[in-house]
């Protein structure tokens, strides 16, 4: 579940950065169209692919439930962090991405 969580959180952060408003708030610049597209694709990709570790570990029934739970909670966490600790929100996503190979290695 940890790997799915990290991937979902990073995915939502990418999707969040792909909007003009949040990109401006977090990085103080407007994203270029290419960057926006890249972030959007990466975000959706991460969210979709995160089904795989959840299902691979727990099977379809339980795995899908865990994936949904993790999906909702990671988005909630991100949205609550953004106004209070925007830098922490970004750092967490970065750390999450870096840690996900380790998590993958440890769990799969």
């Amino acid at each position: 579940m940890l790997l799915a969580l990290l991937m979902c959180y990073a995915g939502f952060t990418a999707l969040c950065l792909s909007t003009d408003r949040h990109h401006g708030e977090l990085l103080h610049s407007r994203p270029t169209p290419r960057r926006r597209l890249g972030l959007r694709v990466a975000g959706w990709l991460l969210l979709t692919v995160s089904i795989w570790p959840a299902v691979a570990i727990a099977g379809w029934g339980q795995g899908l439930v865990e994936w949904c739970a993790v999906l909702m909670l990671s988005a909630l966490l991100l949205v609550l962090l953004l106004p209070y600790r925007p830098r922490l929100a970004l750092i967490l996503a970065g750390v999450g991405l870096l840690a996900s190979p380790v998590a993958a290695f440890a769990t799969l």
């Binding site: 408003r21 865990e66 739970a69």
Partner: protein, 524 residues
């Protein structure tokens, strides 16, 4: 309603949400607590000792006990202990009255000694679970009312989605410290981000009671013979009648093992024995709900009790039954391990927060108009009082329930009943208090009382039992320690909410005073 579709839906959302909001808040909060039903019971009955799990021993112990105490009963039910609930529960029914429910006798046994457990009398987490769908009302009414509330919730959810114009644009938006704006952001955020959970929990609650609230198709297809429907859906209820000749029941353990072999090692939740003292005794071994997400009521292996012959293994579920079963399983979350259980809990709190913020928004919007005159019309005052009593008052009532558990003497007559009484007395007092005090003071005082009660729970536990945090953390009793720590955290959050409301710098936007509430529920 000459305005557009969206306005009409917003109107429906507003009024349906307001009228059922207070009830739904209580249903959601107690339902959320029910995810930790067994853990709460463990805290409230610290005398029940956890033993290493051994199904065969538990089953033998239960059978010996029932043979002695209720050899002529019509039915036995044996619920095996699991990692969350350490008690071995046996229940029997003296004689079957088709028209009547009840005449069941239930005892919790120690799975090693076979003696009835001597614990303080308490409903434990079961109280929240029962209240969540029966609302402390006589038999069918509470269930009806809570199912109606669920239907209103379903309508409110769908109209909320229709009303919310910018779901994707505002997906990540939460702007704190902006008064009414923040409340709406918070309401949208917990609503949209946790939407799959809300939809699942609401629709499944309708599905759970569907044969009660929507009996028309059963009547149309089966006429007056509704039993035929249930025995077609649940074949394990269709057992041989008693023959009248006495017989001896074989040991249950070999049947238990055969059943597990049928399920490729799946777990047994419950064993039901019909007519245990009869030639025609039948034994149904039911599978544990924690085995799969899709709950299967009918997953049973049946035996003849006096010959041990395997009578029937229930087949797979049909698609509609599986869909219904997965609604049930998802709602209950029996399959969830500790991490997923906490996620369920957080989702439940998000739902509670969504309802709470909605109620606050309703009042805030309308209060703004009456700020200058400083006189509130009666209906706004009523909503304010009910808001205070249903939210902070409920917190106080829950805390009072836990306090009563520790303070009422163990030998007190009707002890568990009085625990429940304390809950409602505390709730009633907070309603009275909300009527007497003006809005802001009402909130601050009730939140402070709630905070004190919750923060003191670990202390109270340490003073009245030998299971304080030092012990429970050291021995790895996570349910006990988790309860104390969660109470502490809830108390701190309630205190923070009270402080936040007391120290509002701008008195103008009255709504903002209560903003701590959003987060308060997340803490509880």
């Amino acid at each position: 309603m000459k305005e557009g579709f969206r306005q009409a839906m917003a109107w429906l959302h507003t009024w349906a949400g307001l009228i059922f909001g207070w009830l739904l808040f209580a249903i959601f909060l107690t339902g959320t607590l029910s995810y930790f039903k067994d853990e709460i019971s463990h805290w409230m009955q610290p005398e029940v000792q956890a033993r290493p799990l051994d199904d065969a021993r538990s089953l033998t112990v239960a059978q010996t006990y029932l043979q002695q105490v209720a050899p002529t009963a019509a039915r036995w039910f044996i619920t095996l202990p699991d990692s969350r609930d350490p008690g071995l529960s046996v229940m029997w029914q003296d004689k079957v009255d088709p028209g009547k429910r009840g005449n069941f006798i239930q005892k919790t046994l120690d799975p090693v000694t076979g003696q009835a457990v001597q614990a303080r009398e308490s409903m434990g987490g079961e109280f929240f679970y029962r209240f969540h769908f029966q609302l402390q009302m006589p038999h069918p009414w509470g269930r009806w009312l809570s199912t109606i509330a669920a239907m209103v919730m379903f309508i409110a959810l769908i109209t909320g989605i229709i009303t919310h114009k910018k779901i994707f644009k505002d997906f990540f938006t939460f702007r704190p410290r902006k008064g009414q704006r923040s409340w709406l952001d918070g309401h949208n955020a917990v609503g949209v981000l946790v939407l799959p959970f809300h939809l699942m929990i609401t629709y499944s609650s309708l599905v759970i009671f569907m044969s009660m609230v929507m009996p028309a198709p059963i009547l149309a297809s089966y006429g007056n013979d509704t039993r035929a429907f249930f025995s077609e859906v649940f074949p394990n209820t269709n057992n041989a009648p008693a023959s009248g000749q006495p017989g001896t029941l074989l040991p249950l353990v070999p049947m238990y093992e055969q059943a597990r072999a049928q399920w490729a090692g799946g777990h047994v939740g419950r064993v039901a024995v019909n007519n245990p003292g009869d030639m025609n005794a039948s034994v149904n071994v039911l599978r544990a709900g924690s085995d799969s997400v899709v709950h299967d009521f009918g997953s049973t292996v049946s035996f003849n009790g006096s010959t041990g012959e395997l009578l029937r293994v229930s087949g797979g579920q049909s698609l509609p039954a599986a869909i219904g079963g997965s609604f049930y399983g998802l709602h209950m979350g029996h399959f969830a391990g500790p991490v997923l259980r906490w996620l369920y809990f957080i989702c439940g709190l998000a739902g509670t927060a969504m309802i709470g913020t909605g109620l606050v928004i309703w009042l805030g919007k309308r209060q703004l108009k009456h700020l200058k005159s400083n006189v509130m019309p009666f209906e706004l005052r009523l909503v304010e009082v009910l808001n205070i009593a249903s939210m902070s008052g409920l917190m106080i009532a829950i805390a009072a329930f836990f306090w009563a558990n520790r303070l009422l003497p163990v030998t007190f007559a009707e002890r568990s009943g009085w625990e429940v009484q304390t809950f409602f007395i505390a709730w009633g007092l907070s309603l009275l208090h909300a009527i007497l005090r003006r809005g802001r003071q009402g909130w601050v005082e009730q939140l402070s009382v709630g905070a004190l009660l919750f923060i003191a729970i670990p202390l109270l536990n340490a003073l009245t039992t030998s299971h304080h945090l030092g012990v429970s953390l050291a021995t790895g009793d996570w349910a006990m320690a988790g309860f104390d720590l969660t109470s502490l955290a809830s108390g701190i959050f309630l205190g923070w909410a009270a402080w936040k409301m007391q120290h509002r710098t701008v008195p103008a936007p009255k709504v903002e005073r209560t903003r701590g509430l959003t987060l308060k529920q997340e803490a509880n």
